[in-house]
């Protein structure tokens, strides 16, 4: 991995994001993006306020795109800049992939378009409505920006989207199909209609995001994007790139069970596959960035899955849910959390799970409550356990010597 980029409610750009996580800062607050009607039970969200598409991106196609594509482009710009492959791509982007997904793509464009059309009877439809809505448009915009002419598309797996994208690029590199790839996910679906549909599932909290806590009462929606640049090792080495981390292993499974009730076996299976792929034993993992959504079904199932794979080592590994600070970025989240894993390794520091004073007795592992702490970190695990029982687990390690 030679580049990473983050847009999140606790900060745009990796360094700002990481400083906030280390400090235990929350990016969640009152909704300002749309009118908060009295009938909304949850009036909190994780909005990104330090991003200005005109100033930060400028490119007219992206300025006119849906916000999910804008956030993805911003994160991709940071990752590509850091990797230093921009000039290389400008010359020849044919052996490079661009796989950037989203849980629900241009949902806010759709909401606005339908409101105009059906409710307000505005019969003129913006000609970009369709293109903005496409779940593949973030990948398309980034490919155009950097002349990527290899495999380019979006993937969809709700909250595991970014991680699935990364897994695909990782496998394409292993297979020898590409030398490098931009991978990630993005979500910007904070709108009134989406909030209502999440509320209808009874999975949102009206007070905050409290993973693994007794007072946990649901998750908080947020927006953001996490992007990584992956590269074949010899390719990166030959051009003298600064290698940030090695993708050690990747595992993916499906529960084939229920849309919203995860299974221990599905999550545990993905962890085991990732460990086997990495050639590591569970006890070698120092930090797990948990999916940790602060819903009862997730937190207990994930805890039990960790126990089933790690055995006694489950009590030694440091775990945290950084969603307690940045909320649930859905399709955008998994590689933002991946960035936290990489920074934890670089800094030998475990970011905390904030708001965790009174843990759920069924969640009895070390979730790094309230304050982060120093710890030697060599290998990290990034769990993404999505609706539909779609699971991914990535394992990161230090750059090969």
């Amino acid at each position: 991995m030679t580049g990473q980029g983050v847009v999140s409610p606790v900060g745009t750009k990796v360094d700002k994001f990481w400083a906030a996580l280390k400090n235990g800062d929350s990016g969640l607050g009152p909704i300002t993006f749309y009118e908060v009607t009295d009938d909304l039970r949850c009036k909190i969200a994780g909005e990104v306020h330090d991003f200005d598409v005109q100033k930060d991106v400028g490119n007219i196609d992206v300025v006119r795109a849906d916000r999910f594509s804008q956030l993805a482009t911003k994160a991709a710009m940071e990752a590509v800049e850091q990797s230093g492959i921009k000039d290389l791509l400008a010359k020849d982007g044919s052996r490079t992939a661009c796989i950037i997904g989203s849980g629900s793509g241009g949902l806010t464009t759709l909401e606005t378009g339908y409101r105009d059309l059906y409710r307000d009877k505005i019969m003129r439809t913006n000609p970009l409505t369709l293109l903005r809505t496409l779940g593949s448009s973030a990948a398309a915009h980034v490919s155009m920006m950097y002349n990527i002419t290899g495999p380019t598309f979006g993937v969809v797996s709700a909250c595991a989207t970014g991680s699935h994208a990364m897994g695909l690029v990782y496998q394409m590199i292993k297979y020898g199909q590409i030398d490098a790839g931009i991978a990630g996910g993005s979500e910007a679906s904070l709108n009134w209609g989406a909030q209502r549909s999440w509320e209808a599932l009874f999975v949102l909290s009206n007070t905050g995001c409290f993973p693994f806590s007794k007072k946990r009462n649901g998750t908080i929606l947020s927006e953001g994007s996490g992007i990584m640049v992956l590269e074949e090792y010899e390719h990166a080495k030959a051009r003298g790139a600064n290698i940030l981390a090695e993708i050690m292993g990747f595992g993916m499974t499906a529960d084939a069970g229920d849309m919203v009730h995860p299974k221990v076996e599905g999550a545990a299976g993905a962890m085991q596959i990732a460990l086997d792929d990495a050639g590591l034993k569970a006890e070698q993992i120092d930090y797990i960035n948990a999916h940790g959504t602060a819903t009862k079904t997730n937190d207990v199932t994930e805890t039990n899955a960790i126990k089933s794979v790690f055995g006694d080592a489950a009590y030694d590994v440091s775990i945290s849910s950084t969603k307690s600070m940045h909320g649930h970025m859905l399709g955008g989240g998994s590689l933002v959390e991946g960035a936290a894993c990489i920074k934890a390794m670089h800094d030998n520091f475990i970011p905390p799970t904030i708001n965790l004073n009174d843990p759920d007795p069924d969640c009895d592992l070390d979730y790094t409550p309230n304050e982060g702490r120093e710890r030697e970190v060599t290998y990290t695990m990034n769990n993404s356990l999505a609706f539909g029982g779609l699971n991914t687990v990535a394992i990161f390690g230090p750059a090969p010597k």
Binding site: I60, R64, R124, N126, P127, L128, L131
Partner: protein
């Protein structure tokens, strides 16, 4: 330039991919501006929205209305006239 022409030039400039300082007059050919087909669709939409008119534009047909900036302005003036007649 009258108000209609000024507003149309503003819309064109907003949707051009480059040359933000380019001098635009009534003789300027649209093909001399950095505008692609998708940009033209957005420009038509913006003009319709600004003047509350409907432009019978089809990206798949050749039309003299979109040759020069002046021809666009003429077309819009004509449509504004028609729509006021209709109201009257």
């Amino acid at each position: 330039m009258d108000e209609v022409a000024t507003k149309i030039v503003e819309i064109l400039k907003k949707n051009m991919k480059s040359q933000p300082d380019k001098e635009i007059d009534m003789e300027t050919e649209l093909t001399d501006l950095d505008i692609e087909s998708l940009d033209l669709a957005v420009i038509v939409f913006d003009i319709e929205d600004t003047f509350s008119i409907e432009i019978p534009y089809n990206a798949n047909e050749e039309s003299g209305d979109f040759n020069t900036v002046g021809s666009v302005v003429e077309k819009v003036r004509e449509l504004i006239g028609n729509s006021s007649d209709a109201v009257a």
